[in-house]
């Protein structure tokens, strides 16, 4: 088995590096003849090796399981091809297209429209008991007329309203920090899309609570009353 893994490792290393993200190294290659993404979760060099390795493994396994579940409930996540926990390696479908972030930078109208679709996707995940954990605009890809969702590296199985609201909060935070000009329209459209699948009011309310929980929000209420 070890020889097999070593052989796999060296063949994957030969594939061209597509992207080095905050989380992982992504290579584009082929798997059983299919174009495929090879996602290595790298031990972070700035962490203690033990912490880095255990985080990498945990996150790879969790990511694979969540992707399977997401596909099962009809969320347009990448198809899972294979998982190698000891190498923190996931092999998955290659999705070609532009990130929602790239769309937002050049086509505000389309980005606002796609925000709605992002809302639907996130709501579907929530219906299936999955919190994405990092639904920023870099993690949606517009591909062949369809919005897809990627990077389940921080996703979790959960039924906690709090985790769902964190997703909504994170989407808003992402559009506010990277696309300030169209943030409001994009987020409204996201909530509309969310509401098509499941009640959005309570989750938006809770997301607002999470925002207010961030330190130093002036309208924060305490047990002593306002602020």
């Amino acid at each position: 088995m070890e020889e097999l893994l070593a052989a796999l490792e060296s063949s994957v290393r030969a594939f061209p590096l597509m992207k080095r993200g905050a989380e992982s190294e992504v290579r584009l290659g082929t798997f059983l003849g299919l174009p495929a993404i090879f996602k290595y979760r790298l031990p972070k060099p700035y962490m203690h090796p033990k912490l880095a390795l255990s985080l990498a493994r945990q996150r790879s396994v969790r990511e694979a399981r969540v992707m399977l579940k997401a596909r099962e409930v009809g969320v347009p996540a990448p198809r899972l091809y294979a998982l190698f926990p000891s190498m923190s390696l996931i092999v998955m479908e290659y999705i070609e297209g532009e990130t929602l972030k790239e769309v937002a930078e050049k086509d505000a109208e389309r980005a606002i429209e796609l925000g709605r679709r992002a809302g639907t996707i996130v709501a579907r995940l929530h219906e299936a008991g999955i919190a994405h954990g990092d639904p920023t605009t870099s993690n949606f890809i517009f591909s062949r007329g369809e919005l897809r969702v990627i990077d389940f590296g921080l996703a979790e199985f959960t039924s906690d309203v709090e985790d769902f609201a964190v997703d909504v909060h994170l989407f808003r935070r992402a559009v506010e920090s990277a696309h300030a000009r169209i943030a409001h329209s994009m987020f409204s459209s996201f909530l509309e899309g969310y509401a098509e699948v499941r009640g959005a009011e309570w989750v938006a309310e809770r997301a607002e609570e999470i925002r207010l929980r961030g330190r130093y929000v002036e309208e924060r209420r305490t047990v002593w009353g306002r602020g």
């Binding site: 080095r20 993200g21 905050a22 972070k44 060099p45 700035y46 962490m47 203690h48 033990k50 912490l51 255990s54 985080l55 972030k101 954990g133 990092d134 639904p135 920023t136 605009t137 870099s138 921080l154 964190v166 997703d167 994170l170 935070r173 992402a174 506010e176 920090s177 990277a178 300030a180 000009r181 999470i210 929980r213 961030g214 330190r215 130093y216 929000v217 002036e218 924060r220 602020g227």
Partner: protein, 334 residues
Amino acid sequence: MIVLGIESTAHTFGVALLDDQLKVLADVRKQYVPKSGGILPREVAPFFSQVAGAAVREALGAAGVRMGEVEAIAVALGPGMGPQLRVGASVARALAAYYGKPLVPVNHAVAHIEVARWLTGLKDPIVLYVAGGNTAVISYAEGRYRVFGETLDLPLGNALDTFAREVGIAPPYVREGKHAVDICAEGGEFVEGLPYVVKGQDSSFSGLLTAALKALRGGAALRDICFTFREIAYSSVVEVLERGLALTGKREVVLTGGVAASALLNEKLSLMASLHGAQFRPIPRSYAGDNGVMIALTGMAAFKWGQRVEPRRATIRQRWRVDQVPVPWYYGFP
């Protein structure tokens, strides 16, 4: 043009004088160091009241400047602890009203960022601001500083201090520039089982604190828990910053705030930045913590760009967020 800056948000009463060549004419700091326990506002505020007058006189004396030569008074009106803020605000309002000087409101967090941009020379960075009262990843977009990620509960510095206090290794929290937890971690080893929490772009330390204290009660070695606590806490904020770097596309990383003095945190950030081809520079140690210079500096920018406040309206704002402040000078100053 000379600006006088007053800082009084937490443990340090700072008075500084800065001229428009950005020469520091005076930098007086009166720090409250508790004999036991933490930073209690009811103890710090009276201390500030006692030292305030002397601090202002000392600053003017050191600079050889008369009040008549000061063009504006800048004061940190928040965020921070109310009783301490009120002392600084009262002194600033009194000086402004008595000498007829314009009063400039300064946000303490913005000031930490401005002094870091000035001293590191990195003009458009993503900022890790870690202190006793704040933990946030911040970058500038469209006229303001935006919060990319922040702590959902305890600030990192507060978590470290509370841990140190609970296990009996502080106060003093800092000895010869090293935090008590850093000293205690020497020779320690990483132990499994303490929670590492990063929720998307935010961090959280309250679970880590509880688990660490519980592990100690269960018989774990103190130096191992210190080592692991610190390792997890620092790693998680560096990871949040790493995500911010990826999302905002900034090429520069700056570290500021009281915890910026940590050698280990600097090492981690420097590694992370080089991995992404970004430039990392920490603020010089002597300006990592609270000081009046950063208030005078930011006050000078705000004053030049027309921001000021009537003394009667200069009330403190304990929860004044960094993203509520227009920063029109961003590309033009310092």
